[in-house]
Symmetry: C2
Subunit: 233 residues, 2 copies
DNA sequence: TCGGCTTTGTGAAAACGTGCACAACCGATC
DNA sequence: GATCGGTTGTGCACGTTTTCACAAAGCCGA
């Protein structure tokens, strides 16, 4: 019987499964066939209970008193994440980043081969990067359809990111990974992931700043902030 | 009234402040001087109440019935994030990614100039990328101290990431941004951020897979991970 | 000064995520 | 076949984050 609702995995868990997967794959390649949640937790840098709860969403695939069979777990995680087949991606923007990504093997190696690259710059159209010929943005539709691509990567300047997103959606892509430092709007039902370097660095800066403030200031400080009046600054 | 403990901003808020900051800065450059939480929320793709609560951690800097003064808010966010001065970074690994990062202006433009690059490959040591000369990893200590660097970026292969992290920590760096697909161990008190391409793509693959499963299966609504924009408006 | 309109700031509730603790269970050993 | 050490799977309590909803507050025109 089909379940009434398809098992839904918490977003936080989905974000950790790829990490478990990578560790388990490495361990298996090293000849490790079985692991406990404690060992996996250690390698992943998380709590063991969290590992068990995460894995429990896949089903009860562990053996009490023993642990998990690595190969089987790899298979289950791959299945759950939809990694049983390749997901070709199309890259929009063949600049520094786009070229680096296209040439990066860790991309195709993990089941995400570059199925196409497009740009608007005629100087770049026609050149070959990472073994793929750069096409013009206007050809994105056929490119996407030819390989049945559903994931797009935006590597354009921020000012062109929304255009790129629109073009991707028009072409039929339903998931987007955005490297441009811009919030993009997409219709309902399209998934968007983002990688924003400046945000990551600024988060680190915040912690750095707290650290130094805490070190030099006395620990009892309260910030005497005024009620902010006419701060026309 | 006065809190004994230093104001602590929730991590989720810290992660959004850089986005608000970027939007506000752009708007200010476009001549916008005032904004309501609704407008900012629209541009940031989040809920307006969340914007207000986030900003309230900085203090009460809005004006009821009017909104926020953009320039003042920019100043306050920058101050809170510790962006009132530059944070030079040291890059470990001068390969494809390391060179792309070093040559990327959006890095220094936002207050994170590349203060040094190190590698172990003698063929790369001595060359100049992004205006900075590549030094040997063994010189990382002096490089870090010379410019009082506290943030390090790992752009080595995964197999060398832990070594790179250890070298960074030894050199005195207290925050690390890791681009290698490896979990790194660091002593207590060191902040670590990570950017993992494969993880992001695999999260998208999961949602893609659910979508297609749902389409052929029952009529259950799938909830995308991070979709913005209402259809109307 | 007043009242109507707008928007903030924030309590409180709901939703989500984490970690403890332990019963249930497995395999091994005697 | 009973006992034992070891590990899973999960109920529960706790912490964090999001969202709602509304009183308080500012602005403006009458
Ligand atoms: N270079 C890095 O190390 C780095 C790191 C992090 C983030 N980023 C971000 O990645 C994006 C790209 O960076 P980059 O260094 O590759 O820039 P780049 O200028 O080298 O490349 C941008 C490319 O996009 C193309 N382009 C412009 N408008 C387009 C459009 N509408 N459709 C298709 N292509 C279009 C341009 O022709 C160019 O080839 C930027 O948003 C940047 O902020 C770059
Ligand atoms: N290239 C990309 O587009 C891309 C994208 C995302 C993530 N990554 C990740 O970034 C990392 C680097 O990728 P890359 O393509 O630049 O690889 P790369 O092989 O081009 O460069 C790696 C560099 O690190 C140096 N190195 C090796 N061991 C070192 C050590 N112990 N200390 C200092 N330097 C050392 C090597 O000499 C080399 O110059 C990898 O972990 C990769 O998975 C790359």
């Amino acid at each position: 019987m089909a379940h009434r609702t398809r098992r839904r995995i918490p977003e936080a868990t989905v974000a950790r499964l790829p990490i478990y997967l990578r560790i388990l794959t490495e361990q298996f390649d090293d000849g490790v066939t079985g692991m406990s949640s404690d060992q996996l937790a250690e390698l992943a840098g998380v709590n063991a209970a969290k590992v068990r709860k995460d894995l429990s969403y896949l089903g009860s695939y562990g053996t009490r008193g023993v642990g998990y069979e690595v190969e089987f777990l790899v298979y289950q995680i791959r299945r759950e994440l939809g990694l049983t087949h390749d997901w070709p991606v199309v890259i929009v923007g063949a600049g520094n980043l786009g070229q680096a990504l296209a040439g990066y093997n860790g991309f195709g190696d993990r089941g995400f081969p570059v199925g196409g690259i497009v740009d608007v710059d005629d100087a770049k159209v026609g050149s070959v990067v990472g073994g793929v010929r750069v096409r013009h943005l206007s050809e994105i539709g056929p490119v996407v359809k030819a390989r049945n691509i559903s994931i797009g990567v935006i590597a354009t300047p921020g000012s062109a990111a929304q255009d790129a997103a629109d073009a991707l959606v028009d072409a039929g892509v339903t998931s987007i990974l955005n490297f441009a430092p811009t919030v993009i709007n997409v219709p309902h039902g399209i998934s968007v992931g983002k990688v924003d370097l400046a945000v990551e660095l600024q988060i680190l800066a915040y912690h750095e700043q707290r650290r130094t403030n805490a070190a030099q200031g006395s620990s009892l400080v309260s910030v005497p902030r005024e009620t902010h009046r006419g701060a026309s600054a």
